[in-house]
Amino acid sequence: MLKILFFAALRERLACANTSLDLQGQVLTARQVLDRLAGQSALWQQHLADAELLCAVNQQLVTLSHPVAAGDELAFFPPVTGG
């Protein structure tokens, strides 16, 4: 299973903090996972289409072309605003 996390405004809009996806042995890019998730509903489609979303794989910021496989932790979130 691929563990998927959402944070902040995105978490609120999706009303979902985390979910998972069975990749059935496949290796996908983060973008492919995002597309699959967007297919779940019109709401998810709308909020996951945000071009500003950032992506982390195993707690490291990466671009959407980064590969993910079963056991990885994938996170999507809006631009950060700490400090």
Binding site: F7, A9, Q59, Q60, P78, T81, G82
Partner: protein, 149 residues
């Protein structure tokens, strides 16, 4: 070369952090940055909540501090960031750098803040008398990164 990274709900003491930073006998310069919850201009800020990505946050801060230590000759580097609920004028973030020379200290402290603002997974939500709003990322924070590239 010591690294001191803390992500915590409770407040921190700049006085104590400064005392730790000034202990190094070969470091003649200590630069600190403190970020505070400030008042809003158009509405009344009641409180702020800070969400983060546990686990990734600490790693991101360690990476930023380590990168600073590779770029400049530094002694202790301290980064403390609070999460949870914060009231107006409370402290949010502390960055402290001890160094032999002041230019390295200033550069490193500003570098750490610029990277933290763009790379560390924290999100602020403002609870105001007009409602709740997630703080938007600032273009100026992206621009600030460019000087370090």
């Amino acid at each position: 070369m010591t690294l001191r990274i803390q992500v915590q709900q409770q407040d921190f003491s700049v006085a104590s952090e400064y005392e730790l930073l000034r202990q190094e006998a070969r470091c003649g310069a200590v630069v600190t940055f403190s970020g505070l919850v400030r008042e809003l201009t158009e509405t009344q800020l009641l409180r702020m909540t800070l969400e983060h990505y546990p686990g990734m946050t600490e790693q991101a801060l360690i990476q930023i501090a380590t990168e600073a230590q590779q770029r400049w000759q530094l002694g202790t580097v301290t980064i403390i960031h609070r999460v949870g609920t914060l009231l107006p004028n409370e402290q949010i973030v502390f960055v402290g750098v001890a160094s032999a020379h002041r230019a390295a200290g200033f550069a490193a402290a500003e570098f750490i803040m610029d990277y933290l603002k763009n790379r560390a997974p924290f999100w602020k939500k403002e609870h105001t008398s007009n409602g709740e709003y997630w703080v938007a990322a600032k273009v100026s924070d992206h621009v600030a990164l460019q000087r370090w590239e």
